[in-house]
């Protein structure tokens, strides 16, 4: 999955804007209120390229809260629940796919 930052913006389906928090690198999502949340459920979900570009532009305005913002696909459940749209995003939400050393 080519690093999403380099992809051209094609939106066919629901998307969110995601990034890493500056202070600790944690995965965060852009909220409708123009902030960042560590919960995917709080993410602003948009469905058009136009809206995605606007959301992304807002996210990139200040690079001091979160860095490397990009548009990522999500899946919407029947109940409106938001889930990551591909493997890369699933791993960003849930962590590595194997048991971590301990």
């Amino acid at each position: 999955m080519a690093a999403p930052q380099q992809q051209k913006l094609k939106v066919n389906g629901p998307v969110v804007v995601t990034a890493n928090r500056l202070t600790d690198g944690a995965v965060v999502w852009r909220t409708a209120a123009g902030g960042w949340s560590a919960e995917l459920a709080d993410a602003a979900v948009v469905t058009s390229a136009e809206a995605a570009i606007a959301l992304l532009a807002g996210a990139q305005q200040r690079d001091i809260d979160a860095v490397g913002a990009y548009v990522a696909p999500v899946l919407l459940g029947a109940d409106g629940a938001v889930a990551p749209g591909n493997l890369r995003e699933r791993i960003r939400v849930a962590g590595p796919t194997f048991e971590l050393p301990h």
């Binding site: 500056l22 600790d24 890369r88 962590g95 050393p101 301990h102």
Partner: protein
Amino acid sequence: MYVYDEFDRAFLAERVAEFRDQVGRRLSGALSEDEFKPLRLMNGVYLQLHAYMLRIAIPYGTLNSDQLRRMAYVARRYDRGYGHFTTRQNIQFNWIKLDELPEAMAALAEVGVHGIQTSGNCIRNVTTDQWAGATPGEYDDPRIWAEILRQYSTLHPEFTYLPRKFKIAITAAPQDRAAIKVHDVGLRLHRNEAGELGFEVLVGGGLGRTPFVGKLVRPFLPARDLLSYIEAIMRVYNQYGRRDNIYKARIKILVHEIGAEEFSRAVEAEWEAIREGALKMTDEMIAEIRGRFLYPDFAALTDNPPELVEALKDERFVTWHANSVHTHKVPGHAIVTISLKPVGAPPGDATADQMEVVADLADRYGFREIRVGHEQNLCLPNVAQKDLPALWAALDAAGLATPNVNHISDIIACPGLDYCALANARAIPVAQEIAKRFADLDRSRGIGRLHVNISGCINACGHHHVGHIGILGVEKNGQEFYQITLGGRADEKAQLGTLLGPAVSYEQVPDLIEDVVDTYMELRAGPQELFIDTVARLGVEPFKERVYAAH
């Protein structure tokens, strides 16, 4: 072991202070991410999928027990209790926080450890043979020359913003364990007919998107001219290497585009102008560096002491001994490889507890010294043979005695999509699944030496091109697929693997590898013919037929 003095300590403390200041400016907004990124990279700090990653150099693969213990401390205090040893004699911490990084770095700097030159477009951590100084038949200890290059290249004012990263590897033994032919510069230390010490110089090797085996630019460079010659290479590269396209910026592309001869001419011309200058090393300078490597005070011992003979009655010990213990140049001693590839675990990972166990064992049995090799295993280079049984028992208890070194389950794998922001596909779970298929020791011993290398993308951190079996993760329509190559090798006969056929899905990889191995077992001329030799003799065709017929 190299002993840092006041000078090195002062430098590291200043480096930490500089980074602390840079992090402070970043957090305050005085530095933008664009400006900060190259600065953090120069200290080994990446931003990965879920967190920052700190990469720490283990120069020429040598650590003392205090340093390893400090790494355990950092893993526990600032990370999640483990670290990952890479293919470049580095260790990576995967979950570190930016605002805690200066503290973690200060803790490491206290024992002379740092992340300088583990990233960025500079001369990277110089790598060499993990058996250096211990293996028989060496022309010299390559670490002395690696240390000279480390000092020379540290914060070099001219070569900190090269077109692209720059990797140098050195070998001084007939068997190349440092993969010098696939580095930007590969140095083979040897003696000429007059008995003088010097380097064969290869330039333009490398893996990644456009893999090349390095080309010979100078058969013999007197050792004392090393720095001026390297400076000449760097200066030619810095001025003429491509900067218009990141994929064409490595020195291998420059060498390829203008040809090795033309490149060598340019280097020689530059070298002529500087070879008698400030970089010319005197015997005293070299002796000074050499004098700061402390060697163990080996006892006068004989091979096969009674303790060892007795232990060799235990079959489990015999298996481990045959697999993980290698000949030392001093009688009565041995080199011990510690496999970080227990079946089912992420290749190259060690927990803080394991690091401490190894550090303690190095104190007790190994003159406090630990090595790290590009195969992602650890090594105790100086162990008395009489101590091997006790060492084995302790390693075994800590889950560190898997006797699979150089076996098919001793897989080299990059972090892949489970951690890496650049990845196309996962590498670690693929390695885990393959290792499980070959968990049976009799089976894997019967197969013999077989290196599997896995990279999660074309950047080739898992060195897949030079794996006997290479596995490269690619993406097809949002799914993970894998290309398989056969016949690559990283040693003195280095060559790139040949593509077996169309890429296969994640689920198909383990079966396919089993088919490849079964085909080898059928086709090999006898148990003595290694996998790599069978592939060399027959090519990939017979493998291809069998494997793709089955799927």
